[in-house]
């Protein structure tokens, strides 16, 4: 199975072998990353990092990954200072840069932007988040974190909480998990922010899916919390009802060997007191972003 030269756009079409090859390579990259090594395998290669929506964390993670592999990074992190602000289309930006680079990493507020870019150019494109659709590199680092901790992915029950409608990390992670055996996906969200119906239909073809009516964390091997942005729920009273908080009292009900994850930044979904619990793995998860992105870049370009 090879990802060489291909785009990395969505977890929907990925298969288990592709995912496993990335996870295996991530492990190798991890030991190099732990030693703070700079490799030479991407020497002379350029990555264009185009962030049409600011996300310092994801951009830095991709940037360090490329640099740790010995490559160069160009691009922008603020669309206000780029040609985009003068009205240039994504199509034209890609065309203008394609001769200069070996890889595009694109974050964009519109769904489907990375796919459009991939259709415009022969240079491989990595989707670093397209609107509320997908964020597949996040799914890989989530799986890597789970695998590192639980030593397996098959047979796990994963509970996802929060904004499941617009939560691209939840969408990508769900599809990626569904490629494994005997996985059970549990969902808990305010009624306005449920998982899109067509995704549930797709996922039900591959694994068990359960929508919970209350925040029952007791069955899950992984509890994956996500932020509910205020602007998603107009009515302030409804927003107040929709928000949740995982604190020691909730964690008390979690399995002793469960993991608590979150694609950071968090706001109030997880109380700071939970950080001290050994089951809290979100900082570990964030740290794993670099080696996993090294593995993704390397799989595509090496």
């Amino acid at each position: 199975m090879s990802l060489k030269g291909s785009d990395f756009i969505s977890a929907v079409g990925m298969d288990r072998k592709e995912i496993e090859s990335i996870l295996a390579l991530s492990e190798k990259m991890d030991s190099s990353f732990t030693k703070k090594e700079v490799l030479s395998e991407m020497e002379g290669k350029f990555m264009a990092s185009l962030f049409y929506e600011p996300s310092t964390r994801t951009q830095q993670s991709f940037g360090s990954a490329m640099k740790r592999l010995g490559g160069e990074v160009i691009g922008f992190s603020d669309p206000k200072t780029s040609s985009h602000s003068k009205g240039e289309t994504l199509h034209d930006t890609i065309k203008a840069l394609e001769a200069q680079v070996d890889l595009f990493v694109i974050r964009h507020p519109s769904e489907g932007a990375a796919k459009l870019a991939a259709e415009v150019t022969n240079v491989p494109v990595i989707n670093a988040g397209d609107g509320s659709n997908q964020h597949p590199s996040q799914a890989m680092l989530d799986l890597y974190t789970i695998k590192k901790e639980k030593k397996k992915i098959d047979g796990l029950t994963v509970l996802m909480i929060g904004d499941l409608k617009y939560g691209r990390t939840v969408h990508s992670l769900s599809y990626a998990l569904s490629k494994f055996d005997d996985v059970k996906l549990q969902y808990y969200s305010p009624p306005q922010l449920k998982m899109p119906g067509f995704m549930l239909n797709d996922l039900r073809n591959d694994c068990k899916v359960e929508e919970l009516s209350s925040l029952d964390v007791s069955k899950a091997d992984v509890v994956y919390a996500t932020r509910i942005q205020k602007e998603r729920i107009e009515d302030p009273e409804e927003y107040k009802r929709a928000v949740y908080r995982i604190d020691n009292e909730v964690m008390e009900k979690m399995k002793k060997d469960a993991m608590l994850m979150h694609p950071l930044p968090r706001v109030d979904e997880i109380a700071v007191e939970a950080d001290l619990d050994s089951r809290a793995k979100y900082f570990e998860q964030e740290r794993n972003g670099v080696p996993v992105r090294m593995a993704i870049i390397s799989s595509i370009l090496k």
Binding site: S10, V12, H108, S110, E111, G112, L116, D130, G131, F198
Partner: protein, 153 residues
Amino acid sequence: MKAKDKDMLKVKKIENGIVIDHVPQGSAVKLLTVLGIDEDFKGTVSVLINVPSASTGLKDVIKIEGRSLTKSDLEKVALVAPYATINVIRDYTVIEKYKVKLPEVLEGVIHCPNPNCISNKEGNPKLHIKERNPLKLQCNFCEKVYAEKEFKF
């Protein structure tokens, strides 16, 4: 066909244009809208609603004088009336008759209903057939799936 029906069709015969037959009952008006036929259209348009049909009970039929159908028109017809038959008329004679066919990929035919989809900002919309019965389309870009009532012509 009964003698009476035959007479009726004779009266409505058009010189040059198209007859769209086997339109699902109740879909004729929608089909005209989708084809952009409105009060500014100059040719004669006859719309027959609730026409008895041997195979489906009742059907609608549309006859349009002085109009031909492009590839994109035909794909729109197939979305609204998947079993429609097109009769091309020249000098009062049917010179061509064929069934519409819905292709696997619809490019530039309908918009993606998701306002935040990149295809509504630049480039051309492209949707794939996800399921045929009932018809569901999936956007090539934002990956969202739509049922018939959501299609945006």
